[in-house]
């Protein structure tokens, strides 16, 4: 176990590998292109030489003596018969060849130019300045030098070098071999390198021409043994085999004095292999393929892209101590809790470091074994492993539990199973904002799913149609403390996006609270006791009585869950927009929700009081009483909601949309009338009498006019339908209270579905001049362009159904396109902004220390704590202070 201050990497220096350095760090010179011998033992000086590390259990590394998981791997090297160019540096090599003298190796700039440019470059530090800027500066200088055809230093006539992509250089049509290139690059003095943006302390140009190739350790390119016992080598090993083979043949041919042509062919082949070894997607080179025809994954491919080393293994990693399963709702849990199935809890462990204070209790814990239960057969946490100070793990079984419990001493670590009350991280992907991963305390439940309170669906954007979520068990005390203080659900109630609550009652919670408070209904004592039994109160609210019968008011019941001293006033969603008297409330005072000292006096509780995004009561409780009180309110509110709605019952069905005969016929009239008007518009258009709107063609004007006619028709029919559906209708209750759906949806069911559209216009594509072969070519009438005059309830005719599907398809395509586009935008945003932080003075700085803002957001206020973006909610404070002082 590490204790105290851990080490920290201070910086990383990049550089080019010198051939000497490659040889120095190499443990073995690889000369054999083979891997294993017939017995399956690595061939010495072969590609699987034991000096480079081990991958087989049982063998030991010859270099460090470590076994499989201990040896970090060591490099080897291959001496190339002839030098080859490194593909990654082709451009730089070209610049060097262009801008330096072919005979004296100096940069082709005059001494005066060198002096002034050197001064200019000295302002930049190659290792820490912006590489783009250095690139632009050096390009200017090298371009200038490249233009010169006579060397100013030795007066040699220069010739043009042409790059024959990808890796061949030609000078006046004659090929320049890598060997010659290397010789030229060697002549360039260190002092001239700065003009090329080369840092001579870590890089020499001739190092870009390879003479020796490092061979990566074996654990970088492990071979796999298939079930058949056949060995399958890694792509890199295959490539290295090729390189060694060709290098050897080239060496032999050269030493034998083979014809130049053969040597050159082999040299090119070696260049090809080394090139594809680095990058198998070089433009102009056919990718090297596996026997099966699959392109090999070589070095660049390993690093690049989403599945590459950087994004897939370094920026994000797979973790232990995590679980994933389907989620389901559990209204009796607090918003801070998560229900974990026993099966998962038995596998997930928390490390407990044994000290003198917990020694006895830990021994007792270990003695329980891995599957303990109490006398009621309830889950108890056991122990899966104990870890000795030397790092050895001992598995605990029912048999060895007692004896191992005795062995546990101070300094050991015990991996305890999950317990109730442990803090864990809970996450749903896509993790779009910080509320996608929150801290919950564990409740062990039977069953197979994770469960949580429905109020927490919104921040996770979860539903229960098969969604799965992840659970992570924190392994360190620091992490647990942070999770408890910062990440816990109750700390995340306020969204940093808009400074309002993002956790609140949904669907049935809203419906139920609406039913409880709208019109202040009466409940008998028996009903009240049933409802209130769902929450932890000891006494009922003040009873009223009429004709000797005791009854309770809904608003009084609601008031029991409000904290004392809460004052607020706001208009409910139901009455939003109402001027003097709300049409849905009998009492004019009910237009506004009015709460004084935790007692609700007027109004109706709906979405704008307890819903996510808008929940005014949640907002005010959070600001005045803090996270704990708010989570208690949400817990009790959701339970109270379940209490009422399970007593009263609430359902909806197709008969909710029944409207009288005459209403149906009026809606029909409207639709016929609309079609009539559309036909008239088309007639005027066909006669050429339609006046185009400014800036529009006649056709566009016609479409706009028709769209407005259909829009009006739908609205009118919706109005008629909803005039027969009052607040006693469950669907209307849901729509008006904001629990689910909009009035528009109701009018679609009861009234008319209306015009279908694609890209904001009427449907117009399909066949030549018509949407379907059922219509005349050129028919631009209502039906032919997707006007649906039926309602969902009456049913759509086949044509209408088809048109409706077209409209629906657009929505699906839209969603699919949008997710990928906005995902990429967010990735870019995060990447660009991840390093910004606020310092003690509320300045926003980046990592270099550049100041982005002198005071964050111009007022230094945290958006999470701001009142919907306002610095402070002055109006509410005035209102609240006055009420408080009055008392």
């Amino acid at each position: 176990m590490t204790t105290g201050i851990s080490k920290r990497i201070y910086r990383i220096q990049f550089g080019l590998l010198a051939p000497e350095e490659v040889r120095k760090m190499s443990q073995v010179k690889v000369i054999t292109a083979d891997t294993y011998d017939d017995d399956g033992y690595p061939i010495e000086r072969g590609l699987m030489d034991l000096h480079m590390g081990v991958i087989e259990p049982g063998l030991k590394c010859t270099t460090c003596g470590g076994k499989v998981d201990e040896c970090p791997g060591h490099f080897g090297h291959i001496e190339l018969a002839m030098p080859v160019v490194h593909v990654g540096f082709i451009k730089e090599v070209k610049t060097f060849l262009d801008s330096t003298c072919k005979s004296c190796g100096r940069i082709k700039l005059t001494d005066d130019e060198i002096k002034t440019y050197r001064e200019r470059m000295s302002a930049y530090n190659l290792s820490s300045s912006d590489p783009e800027v250095i690139g632009i500066m050096s390009k200017k200088m090298t371009d200038e030098a490249g233009q010169r055809m006579v060397c100013p230093h030795c007066d040699t006539q220069q010739s043009k070098i042409i790059l024959d992509k990808p890796t061949t250089f030609r000078e006046e049509g004659i090929k320049v071999t890598p060997k010659e290139i290397r010789e030229r690059l060697e002549r360039i003095p260190d002092d001239d390198l700065v003009f090329f943006g080369f840092n001579h302390e870590v890089a020499r140009p001739e190092w870009m021409i390879l003479t020796v190739l490092p061979v990566p350790p074996i654990n970088v390119r492990p071979s796999i043994t298939l079930e058949t016992g056949e060995r399958s080598e890694d792509d890199l090993t295959h490539k290295l085999v090729d390189i060694i083979r060709i290098s050897q043949r080239l060496r032999e041919s050269r030493d034998n004095g083979s014809p130049q042509l053969i040597i050159e062919d082999l040299w090119d082949l070696l260049q090809f292999h080394v090139t594809t070894y680095f990058d198998n997607q070089t433009a102009g080179i056919p990718p090297a393929r596996h026997r099966s025809g699959r392109a090999l994954k070589t070095l660049v491919q390993r690093l690049k892209g989403k599945e590459g080393r950087f994004r897939s293994n370094l920026s994000g990693k797979r973790v232990n101590f995590s679980a994933r399963t389907v989620i389901s709702p559990e209204p009796f849990l607090s918003i801070n809790e998560v229900g974990v199935p026993e099966k998962a809890a038995r596998e997930l462990t928390v490390p407990v470091i044994v000290n003198i204070f917990n020694l006895d209790s830990v021994r007792e814990l270990v003695a329980r074994g891995p599957e303990p239960r109490d006398e009621f057969d309830k889950y108890l946490a056991g122990v899966n492993y104990i870890i000795r100070p030397d790092g050895r793990r001992v598995k605990i079984s029912t048999q060895n539990a007692a004896e191992n419990a005795e062995r546990v001493e101070v300094g050991w670590t015990v991996e305890r199973q999950l317990n109730e009350g442990d803090i864990v991280l809970f996450n749903r992907q896509p993790s779009l904002h910080r509320m996608s991963m929150m801290g919950h305390t564990v409740r062990i439940l039977s069953g197979q799913t994770f469960r949580f309170n429905l109020a927490v669906c919104t921040p996770y954007n979860a539903d229960f149609d098969g969604d799965e979520m992840n659970l992570h068990i924190l392994q360190k005390e620091e992490a647990r403390a942070e999770a408890r203080i910062i990440m816990k659900v109750q700390e995340q109630i306020m969204s940093p996006r808009f400074g309002g609550p993002i956790i609140g009652g949904i669907h049935d919670h809203i419906t139920s609270m609406f039913l409880l408070t709208h019109g202040n209904p009466r409940f008998t004592e028996e009903e009240t006791i049933h409802i209130m039994s769902y929450i932890d109160v000891d006494s009922l609210p003040e009873p009223h009585s009429e004709n000797g019968r005791k009854y309770y008011h809904g608003r009084d019941i609601f008031s029991t869950i409000l904290p004392d001293g809460l004052n607020t006033k706001f208009s409910s969603k139901l009455c939003s927009g109402a001027k003097e008297k709300c049409e849905y409330e009998d009492d004019p005072a009910d237009k506004e929700v009015f709460i004084v000292d935790g007692k609700m006096r007027h109004g109706t509780i709906d979405e704008s009081a307890i819903g996510p995004f808008s929940g005014e009561i949640i907002n005010k409780i959070y600001r005045k009483y803090g996270a704990v009180e708010t989570s208690r309110f949400i817990d009790r509110m959701t339970r109270l909601a379940v209490g009422l709605i399970s007593l009263r019952g609430f359902t909806t069905g197709i008969m909710d949309y029944d409207i009288p005969e005459n209403a149906v016929s009026r809606i029909e009239e409207i639709s016929l009338d609309a079609i009539d008007r559309i036909n008239k518009l088309i007639d005027t258009y066909k006669k050429g009498q339609l006046q185009p709107a400014p800036g529009r063609s006649v056709e566009e004007t016609l479409e706009i006019e028709i769209l407005s006619v259909t829009g009006i028709a739908r609205d009118e029919s919706g109005k008629i339908a909803s005039s027969y559906l009052g607040l006693s209708n469950p669907s209307v209750i849901m729509a008006r209270s904001g629990a689910r759906a909009k009035m528009l949806n109701i009018s679609e069911v009861a009234g008319m579905v209306g015009q279908q559209s694609v890209r904001g216009g009427r449907l117009n594509r399909g066949f030549y001049g018509r949407t379907l072969p059922h219509f005349q070519i050129g028919d631009i009438g209502a039906e032919a362009r997707g006007f649906v005059k039926s309602s969902y309830k009456s049913g759509l005719n086949p044509l209408e159904y088809f048109m409706h599907s077209i409209g629906g398809r657009e929505g699906l395509v839209d969603t699919a396109v949008r997710t990928s586009r906005s995902g990429y935008m967010q990735r870019r945003l995060i990447n660009a902004f991840e390093d910004l932080k606020v310092d003690e003075k509320k300045q926003v700085q980046d990592t270099v220390g550049a100041v982005i803002q002198f005071k964050y957001g111009e007022d230094g206020v945290d958006p999470t704590r701001s009142e919907n973006g306002e610095t402070v909610d002055v109006d509410y404070l005035a209102f609240d202070t006055e009420l408080e002082v009055e008392e």
Binding site: Q826, F833, V872
Partner: protein, 510 residues
């Protein structure tokens, strides 16, 4: 009356202000200039100071002179008064027929139209009531932000003194509580707060904005366009306001529209080629002509500028016949092509302009498709302080980087608000500041902010991995491991939030 304008430094001006009335020796020759007032610019583009001049004389040595330069002095200006004014653009001055565009050293010009206003001090504009609240807050013990003070002042008169005091105390507590925590990762929060609602936006590219004739890109595509800092937005458009004295005059407004719209011959007329006669006939299309407010004479004016043709106007047939002076089919074709795109009038880039009247204020506003801020602002009737374009890059080049910052902020806020998404303005401010703090508009992405990160590993992890690694090699770059991405890569705690605090517990001394 002619005024003298010259460029000077702030130190000189403050010296002058201290010593007026005084003599000021300048290094330019003012032999023929007779001006009673002058203007000083410090940035060549706008004047910031007004100067009353008593007399201008030839330079001669004297004791009490203020010297602009040590040598090469030529004239002496007797200055009576120097006044700070609300900056005026140089283009408000005319020399003969032309507008001044820049004052390098000095120039003379006549001021047109705009009244001079003394530069207002911000504090003076404040209401006395607000000032009182600020003082009250000071007494309670805190500095109250002015926006808050303004709101407080509205409640003050309804409150009893005791309540008022408690009220102020609560505001103080609230202000302290609402502050952002040190080391908070505000960048990530901003990025998430903008990215997350992106999934809820529509992809529908086109939408009507204000005028149903105009299409403007909105929703997610527009947001992406803003953070990409595209050179040209997919639908550039302007909202042009006129100066108060013109905005209610329909004739002037329509005239402005006419001046704005870039109309070519093909927009309002048909061109018929007569191969036999070797002539081209321009046949005006009357509805189109009326729509675009073009008359035949306008076409004739435009044709005058074309070389190598003879023009015959046929009033009766209402057609204009054009004959190339050189008779060849090649020339005929060339002329035809030239005529098609011949600009009759308007400003390049403005495809359409439409004027709309606001029914409440009766003021006209011009909306355009296409944008050319630089030239539109040149028009005399245009109110340059209100006119707006949605082309951020253009704003940056015409008005400068601070204006571009505000443009990014306003455009992104407008895009989000139009979709009904609530996003705190602080996040958008941060994005705007981050995109512009380097002095130019930088895109969010590999070509902009992300490509300029100081860490090799962070750049490599984002996009174009190999390029960054190879370059780091020969440059000998050093990764200081200060950012988030690179520390994650090497497996260390990041330096934000709780990771920014270095706290070591030393333990009790034994």
């Amino acid at each position: 009356m002619t005024s003298l304008l010259w460029k000077d430094t702030k130190t000189h001006v403050s010296e002058l202000k201290k010593r007026v009335p005084c003599d000021y020796a300048v290094d330019f020759d003012l032999k023929d200039v007779a001006a009673e007032d002058g203007y000083i610019t410090t940035d060549k583009k706008s004047v910031q100071y007004y100067v009353r001049i008593a007399e201008i004389s030839k330079f001669k040595e004297s004791e009490s002179l203020i010297l602009k330069k040590k040598t090469g002095l030529k004239s002496i200006i007797r200055v009576l008064e120097v006044m700070d004014i609300d900056p005026l653009p140089i283009s408000e001055f005319r020399k003969g027929k032309h507008k001044l565009s820049e004052v390098e050293t000095f120039d003379t010009g006549d001021r047109i139209l705009i009244k001079l206003e003394e530069k207002p001090s911000y504090l003076e504009t404040l209401d006395q009531k607000v000032k009182d609240v600020v003082a009250d807050a000071k007494k309670v013990g805190f500095d109250i932000p002015l926006s808050v003070a303004e709101k407080v002042s509205k409640h003050k008169k309804e409150m009893k003194p005791a309540v008022y005091k408690k009220f102020l105390e609560r505001i103080m507590a609230e202000l302290a509580r609402n502050g952002i925590d040190p080391h908070e990762a505000v960048g990530i929060i901003a990025a998430q707060s903008i990215g997350e609602p992106g999934t809820q936006m529509t992809m529908r590219t086109f939408h009507f904005a204000g005028v149903r004739e105009m299409n403007v890109t909105l929703g997610l595509p527009r947001l992406i366009e803003i953070v990409d800092a595209r050179r040209i937005p997919s639908t550039p458009s302007m909202t042009i306001y006129l100066k108060p004295e013109f905005e209610k005059e329909q004739d002037i407004v329509l005239n402005v529209v006419k001046k704005l719209e870039n109309t070519t011959v093909i927009d309002v007329a048909d061109i018929i080629t007569d191969v036999g006669e070797m002539t081209l006939s321009i046949v005006p299309d009357m509805p189109k002509m009326n729509d675009r407010l073009v008359e035949n004479s306008d076409i004739m004016d435009a044709l005058e500028k074309v070389k190598g043709i003879s023009v015959i106007s046929d009033e009766k047939d209402n057609r204009i016949t054009v004959k190339p002076t050189q008779e060849s089919f090649k020339k005929l074709y060339q002329v035809q092509e030239q005529l098609k795109v011949l600009t009759i009038k308007g400003i390049p880039g403005i495809k359409r302009a439409i004027a709309r009247i606001d029914n409440l204020t009766e003021a006209w506003t011009v909306y355009t498709q296409g944008s050319n801020l630089r030239e539109v602002l040149e028009l005399d009737e245009v109110d340059a302080s209100k006119t707006y374009t949605n082309d951020i890059i253009e704003v940056a080049s015409v008005l400068g980087i601070e204006a571009a910052k505000n443009a990014i902020f306003l455009e992104s806020q407008r895009t989000l608000a139009e979709q009904g998404l609530e996003v705190d303005q602080r996040h958008l401010m941060l994005v705007a500041d981050m995109m512009t703090f380097g002095g130019s508009v930088r895109a969010v992405g590999r070509t902009g902010i992300s490509g300029r990160k100081s860490s090799v590993l962070a750049r490599a992890a984002f996009e174009i991995t190999t390029k960054h690694l190879l370059r780091a090699g020969y440059l000998g770059e050093v990764d200081p491991l200060t950012g988030v991405a690179e520390n994650i890569i090497v497996g260390q705690p990041i330096t934000l939030g709780t990771g920014a605090v270095n706290l070591v517990y030393k333990g009790l001394k034994k």
